[in-house]
C-alpha cells in the first residue's frame, strides 16, 4: 500500500518536493504553491464543479492532502501539516496525469450532487457496470471520466466512475468493489 516509490526523497535537496511518506496539505492557490506540479485546493474544488457541477461549498470543512505522486486525499477536518501516517480521510482524486480521475469511493460519497457528466444506467447495464464490465452506451456528452449512477429507492445514486471513449463506457470499479448484483426493475 506504500506509494513510497513515487516520492522524491527529501534528503540532499533544499527544494520542497512531493513525498510518498507523508501527507502534505494542498496549497490554497497557485500563489502559495511550493511543490512543483502539486494541485491546489482551488483547482481541486474547481475541477469537481467544472466537471460534475458539484457546488464548491460541498467541500467546506474538508482539507486536501497529497501523499504519493498526484494522489489527493479529502479529510473532513484539519490536522497538523505535514503528517506521517498511513491514511488521512479518503483517497479522492488522482492528479498529475493528463485527465484527473476521481476515485469510486469519492464519487459514491460526493457524486450525488453531480449534475454534469452523469450517465444514468438501469437494469442490466447497471448490473454490468457494477460487475466491472465495459459496454456500449448511448452518450452524446463529453468523453472522459463520468459519474455513473442508477436509481435506487427512488433517488439517483452514484455507483462509480466510468471512462467514456469511442462509444464505449468502461467501468473503473476496482476489482475489490466489483460485485455480481441482481437486476433491479
Amino acid at each position: 500500500m506504500s506509494d513510497g516509490a513515487d516520492g522524491v526523497d527529501d534528503e540532499g535537496s533544499d527544494a520542497p518536493t512531493n513525498s510518498g511518506q507523508r501527507f502534505d496539505r494542498l496549497p490554497a492557490t497557485d500563489d502559495e504553491r511550493e511543490v512543483p506540479g502539486r494541485a491546489t485546493r482551488e483547482e481541486v474544488v474547481g475541477w469537481w464543479e467544472e466537471r460534475f457541477g458539484i457546488p464548491p461549498e460541498t467541500f467546506d470543512g474538508f482539507t486536501f492532502w497529497e501523499k504519493g505522486k498526484g494522489k489527493i486525499w479529502a479529510f473532513h477536518g484539519d490536522t497538523v501539516d505535514p503528517i506521517r501516517i498511513e491514511g488521512l480521510g479518503m483517497s479522492f482524486l488522482r492528479t498529475r496525469q493528463e485527465h484527473w480521475k476521481p476515485t469510486t469511493n469519492a464519487v459514491q460519497r460526493f457524486g450525488k450532487k453531480a449534475n454534469r457528466n452523469v450517465v444514468e444506467l438501469s437494469g442490466e447495464t447497471a448490473k454490468r457496470f457494477a460487475a466491472g464490465e465495459d459496454q456500449e452506451v448511448e452518450w452524446d456528452g463529453d468523453w472522459g471520466y463520468l459519474v455513473v449512477a442508477h436509481e435506487l429507492v427512488g433517488e439517483r445514486e452514484p455507483m462509480g466512475v466510468g471512462l467514456y471513449l469511442y462509444g464505449e463506457l468502461r467501468s473503473t470499479v476496482p476489482k475489490g468493489r466489483q460485485e455480481s448484483l441482481p437486476v433491479l426493475d
Binding site: H76, R84, I85, G87, L88, M90, Q108, L184
Partner: protein, 330 residues
C-alpha cells in the same frame, strides 16, 4: 477438553450456554448512516427482495435471512456493513460526540471504527490504529467503501502509541516534520493550531482469545491454549494503560473483548484501576448482560469490575462479548 467448559461455573444455564455456542450465527448488517438512513436501507433490501429482521434493540442493525450481504445493492453502495450484532456494543459505549478526537487502538478491520465515525457524524478526528499493516488495508478499504472521511489511519504498537504525528508535544517538540531539515518555512517551534495533545475518548477492542466468536468460527477452540491467554493478557494490559494515559482527564476509555476469560477481562481492568488514574463507570447495555466477576480461580479482582458487562451467547442469541467503560481521572 473444550475450553468453554471452564466457564460453566460463571453462567446461569450451562446447557443453554453450550447449546448456543454450537449454533451458527445469522448474517447481520449495520446500516451506515454516513451514506443513508435505516429506513432507506430497509427499502433497498425490500426492492431487491432480501428478507431481514430488525434486531429490535437498535434501529441500525438488521438480521438478514439467508443471503450474504455482499451481493446486495445497498452493500455495493456502502449503505450496509457486515457486523456481528454484539460487536455494535463498544462503539455505543464509547458514545463519541461529533467533532471529538477519538482513538480506536486496535481498529482493523474496521467495523467498530466505521461505527464510531458514523456516531461522530464523520467529523472531528478519529484515529484508527493497528499494528498489522496487512490488516490496515482492510480497514482502509472498509472505511472508504462506507464513505468515512474523518479517519486517520496509523500503524503503531498501541502499547506505546505516540501522538506526535498529531502535533502533540508530549514526546518533545510540536509538529512532526519527520526529516531533520530546516528548509521548511513553517516555524517548527510554534504549536500548530491543529495540534492535538490527548484524546477525548478511546476504544480498546483488544486482541484476545476470541472464544466469543466460536459460533462464527468453531476453529478458535482448537487453537485455544492457556499460554495464549496469558501472553495476550500482557498485551491487553499494555494497550489499556496507554489508552488511559493518552486520554484527557474526564475522558472515556472503553475496553472490550470477544472472550469469556476473566484473565483477559476483569483481570486487565483490575490492573488498570491499580496502575492508572481511572475509575469504572456504569453504562446501560442494550443487550441482556451480566456483571463482571470479582473472583476467578483463586484470584480476586477490583470490586468495581462488576460495572462491566458480560454478554453470553444464550442470552440474546449473539456471539459472546465483554465490555467495560472507564473514566480517566486527573
Amino acid at each position: 477438553m473444550n475450553p468453554l467448559e471452564r466457564y460453566a461455573p460463571l453462567v446461569d444455564d450451562e446447557e443453554a450456554f453450550f447449546a448456543a455456542c454450537e449454533r451458527p450465527l445469522p448474517s447481520v448488517v449495520r446500516v451506515n448512516t454516513i451514506k443513508t438512513t435505516p429506513a432507506r436501507a430497509r427499502e433497498a433490501l425490500d426492492e431487491e427482495g432480501v428478507g431481514y429482521e430488525p434486531a429490535g434493540w437498535h434501529d441500525e442493525i438488521l438480521k438478514l435471512d439467508g443471503r450474504s450481504p455482499g451481493t446486495t445493492w445497498p452493500y455495493f453502495h456502502g449503505w450496509l456493513h457486515g457486523q456481528e450484532e454484539v460487536s455494535a456494543l463498544p462503539a455505543l459505549a464509547v458514545d463519541p460526540e461529533p467533532g471529538e478526537f477519538v482513538w480506536d487502538a486496535c481498529a482493523a478491520p474496521g467495523s467498530k471504527t466505521t461505527q464510531l465515525a458514523a456516531l461522530m457524524d464523520d467529523t472531528g478526528l478519529l484515529v484508527g490504529n493497528d499494528n498489522n499493516l496487512g490488516r490496515l488495508s482492510a480497514l482502509r478499504h472498509n472505511a472508504e467503501r462506507l464513505g468515512v472521511t474523518n479517519l486517520a489511519v496509523t500503524n503503531q504498537d498501541a502499547r506505546n502509541f505516540s501522538l506526535k504525528p498529531f502535533g502533540s508535544g508530549q514526546f518533545g517538540g510540536y509538529g512532526y516534520d519527520g526529516d531533520d531539515g530546516d528548509s521548511d518555512d513553517d516555524s517548527d517551534d510554534a504549536p500548530d493550531d491543529a495540534a492535538r495533545e490527548a484524546f477525548d475518548r478511546a476504544l480498546v477492542d483488544a486482541p484476545c482469545s476470541c472464544e466469543g466468536t466460536v459460533r462464527k468460527n468453531p476453529d478458535v477452540l482448537d487453537q485455544w491454549t492457556m499460554d495464549h491467554v496469558h501472553s495476550v493478557a500482557g498485551i491487553q494490559k499494555g494497550i489499556l494503560r496507554r489508552a488511559i494515559q493518552a486520554t484527557k482527564p474526564g475522558g472515556t476509555v472503553v475496553y472490550s473483548t470477544c472472550t469469556f476469560a476473566p484473565e483477559e477481562n476483569e483481570a486487565i481492568l483490575s490492573h488498570a484501576l491499580e496502575e492508572e488514574a481511572c475509575r469504572m463507570v456504569e453504562f446501560d447495555s442494550p443487550l441482556e448482560a451480566v456483571p463482571g466477576v470479582t473472583e476467578w480461580e483463586g484470584e480476586e479482582y477490583h470490586p468495581d469490575v462488576t460495572k462491566a458487562h458480560r454478554v453470553y451467547p444464550h442470552h440474546n442469541d449473539t456471539g459472546g462479548f465483554f465490555c467495560a467503560k472507564l473514566e480517566v481521572e486527573a
